[in-house]
Amino acid sequence: MSARAGLKAGQAGQAGQVVERLEIQKAWLVDPVAGREGPGEIVVSDGVLESVVWLEGDEAGGVDDRGVVVAPGLLEMHAHFREPGFEDAETVATGCAAAAHGGYTTAAVMPNTQPALDEPGILERVRAAAAASGSPVEVLAYGAVSLDRAGEQLSAMGELADAGVVGYSDDGACVRTPRLLRSALLYAGMLGLPIVDHCEDAELTAGAEANEGYVASVLGLAGWPAAAEVNAVSRDIAVLADALRDEPRARLHLTHLSTAAALDAVRRARAAGLPVTCDVTPHHLAFTDEWIAGSRRWSWEALAADGLSGDPWVDGALTAAPYDTSLRVNPPLRTPADAAACLAAVLDGTAGAVVTDHAPHTAVDKEVEFGRAINGISGIETALGILLSFVDAGKLPLARAVAALTTGPAGIMAGWSRVAGTAAARPRGLTEGAAADLVVFDRADSWQVTADSLLSKGKNTPLLGRSLPGRVLFTVAGGRLAYQDPSPDQA
């Protein structure tokens, strides 16, 4: 209770409506733009962040970063809201509700819908659905790189740019050929937009089921080699270096990298000055392939002091049934050492953002044999809780966790000239006088991940039944209430 004692939120209002008044007293403020965190108070009035007060000395007494935290609204660079085409798995409306529950105020959705978002008409449908939802969560969209994502011809890139996409991706698959990638980087670069690539050498992953290694070997699952990701990353970087000679505005963003070697390749390319950025996901940070065998310990708990992976068959980590299809994801969950490399990449800035790759699926697509289950984890509501678990374990400073979900992705998008200067790439700080765009969560309170508590239609997460730290109390997007915790003890 004490953690919430400072909330005066009775007048926050109805979801979707402008927040008339919201006062958060004696909380922990995190402003990654100012590079500042500490005790403070905020007041939102008529949708505007009216005041941000940093408390000093006695006033700050008893406030620490273990209670209520106020941070800028989170920015999701990679989500699947499934509309149009797969509305049984998710809609723009349910995706926005889930995003708000996760603390997000902006979400960029991937174009692998049915039909694919390869021309402006589909973007209009997505926008219309977002408007109709009444959610204040801002929905951005990527266009497809290739027509129908078929990897043959370019999509309607220029028209899509005019209509407002923030980049191009054939996510779900790698841009199919290096030749197409080169054209796409040049053409998108000319338009001031990036190619966001899903790095997978499909030839090496044909039939693959789980990360190639000890766990897949014991479970008899077809190996998904790290080389498949490293190959694609190397190809993309080489093609980018080449394209830059003709089009200096070419930009490459590599999404959901999962292996130590691929992250090293990006680290080297960035050190050489290439305009390549990348992100990692909460599930590749926190879960490992041993979860498929039935382990449920966090990635850092699976690493022994000597840096070597523990053995779940030896150390009693196998607590759940094996072959849980909620763990089938592309790229696959990797080893504890790879997860540690993902964390190191977040800490050293190689991975500028943490994105959820929110991939909701129906029970019909997941309640099948492991090797036949569709890939993806529903993750937009659990990302903050997963990162806060890292914070609780002392693996990630709170301010870094917040930055990876706010200024990190915003900074990457600000590097795309057509997006820079738009609202999408705005700095995400706690700025007085601006429209309130923030999340309030309570690190002292946890919440149970259940089919009921998740607002996404996709219940496909291995965290079902588990509790996560950092209950989101409010999400305010663009001055409007996006989410308010419904629990009865709400102040």
Binding site: Y214, L219, L221, G223, P322
Partner: protein, 351 residues
């Protein structure tokens, strides 16, 4: 040396175990041998011996599972395993329903979960399942209220095969004790559920296990072997992975060949069957490097002339047909144990 260390670990684990007489069966399903303790494996062996006694009689039938409903659900073509299970079930007087997916509504797109719920509604109590996807029986076990017996899943597990292999080896090794005995499995280990289940049971038995084959067909197994280096998994010894067939077979007590499938050439894992036979085939010359009393095994069906030479398959060392008949005894034992909580004594089996 290290192999003995591994056997020692298995032995040490065994010492702590309760005397086998006191072991009661408590598993609801048999999905793999990995969760079986050594005393439980010995209980299965003992129960299978009693079943072997029944099989030696003129009338091979006891009423132990009278009226119990056993369903075989095979998503993959298999004659010998399915017939072996059905024979075992009928020997115990169970009612057997046999479903082959080619003739079922599975071809109309019914999901595994729906199929299993349907079979349960039709009264199935024990489900024997064969499936091409690793882990499928674990999904079945989650939705089925009865017992699931894994008849082979993907590359993952084939517990009844591993248990009948162990049973057959014990009949041939002096004293029935595999500790320190060298067992070599040669062939397509990567795609073999037989090999994977045998890793668990033979390292539990304390055997000096060697897996051998071309590097393309051992992928990932080296990482498993490395993880078990030093026999650190409780109750299991270490094992060896090698492409050196001469070293693997030298002084072996048991040589087991695995089936090589033609599609391995199409997928670029092997140059040719001819080359495989020349470099890895179990022929008379290679077997002569094993111990004089060594036995030759094969889970079947055999490609004679590829992974095993016809003269070896037909020789006195070959115990392939014993494996088949022992398979019925093992499957009777497991059905019997699954059908109730038993100590391995089969009523009506006393001689």
């Amino acid at each position: 040396m290290s192999a003995q260390a591994g056997a020692g670990a298995a032995q040490a684990a065994r010492k702590d175990a309760a005397p086998t007489q006191d072991v009661a069966w408590h598993h609801r399903h048999v999905l793999d041998v990995d969760v079986l303790t050594w005393p439980e494996i010995e209980l299965i062996m003992r129960t299978a011996e009693e079943m072997g006694g029944i099989l030696a009689r003129p009338i091979r039938k006891v009423p132990a599972l009278n009226g119990r409903r056993v369903t075989t659900l095979f998503y993959e073509a298999s004659t010998r395993t399915r017939v072996s299970f059905e024979t075992a079930a009928r020997n115990l007087s169970a009612d057997v329903v046999s479903i082959a997916t080619a003739t079922s509504s599975v071809t109309k797109g019914e999901s595994l979960v729906d199929t299993i719920r349907t079979l349960e509604a039709l009264g199935a109590e024990i489900l024997i399942m064969r499936h091409s996807v690793s882990g499928a029986p674990y999904l079945a076990a989650q939705v089925f209220s009865g017992h699931v017996l894994n008849g082979g899943d993907g590359w993952h597990a084939h517990p009844t095969q591993a248990l009948l292999d162990l049973y057959t080896m014990r009949q041939h090794v002096p004293g029935g004790d595999l500790r320190g005995r060298k067992v070599v499995i040669v062939g397509d280990v990567l795609h073999s559920r037989v090999a994977r289940s045998n890793i668990w049971s033979l390292t539990a038995a304390g055997a000096d296990l060697w897996l051998c084959g071309p590097a393309t067909l051992l992928r990932g197994l080296d990482r498993w072997a490395a993880a078990w280096e030093g026999g650190k998994v409780p109750g299991h010894g270490r094992f060896h992975v090698t492409s050196d067939v001469a070293a693997a077979i030298r002084d072996a007590d048991v040589v087991m060949a695995l089936r090589i499938q033609r599609e391995r050439m199409q997928s670029g894992l092997l140059p040719s069957l001819r080359e495989y036979a020349a470099r890895f085939g179990i022929n008379a010359e290679r077997v002569s490097r094993a111990r004089p009393e060594a036995i030759v095994m094969h889970p079947g069906p055999m490609n004679e002339g590829v992974e095993i030479a016809p003269d070896v398959a037909a020789s006195g060392r070959s115990v392939v047909t014993e494996q088949v008949s022992n398979g019925v005894a093992i499957r009777m034992a497991l059905l019997y144990l699954l059908a109730g909580s038993h100590d391995g004594t089969v009523p009506g089996a006393a001689r």
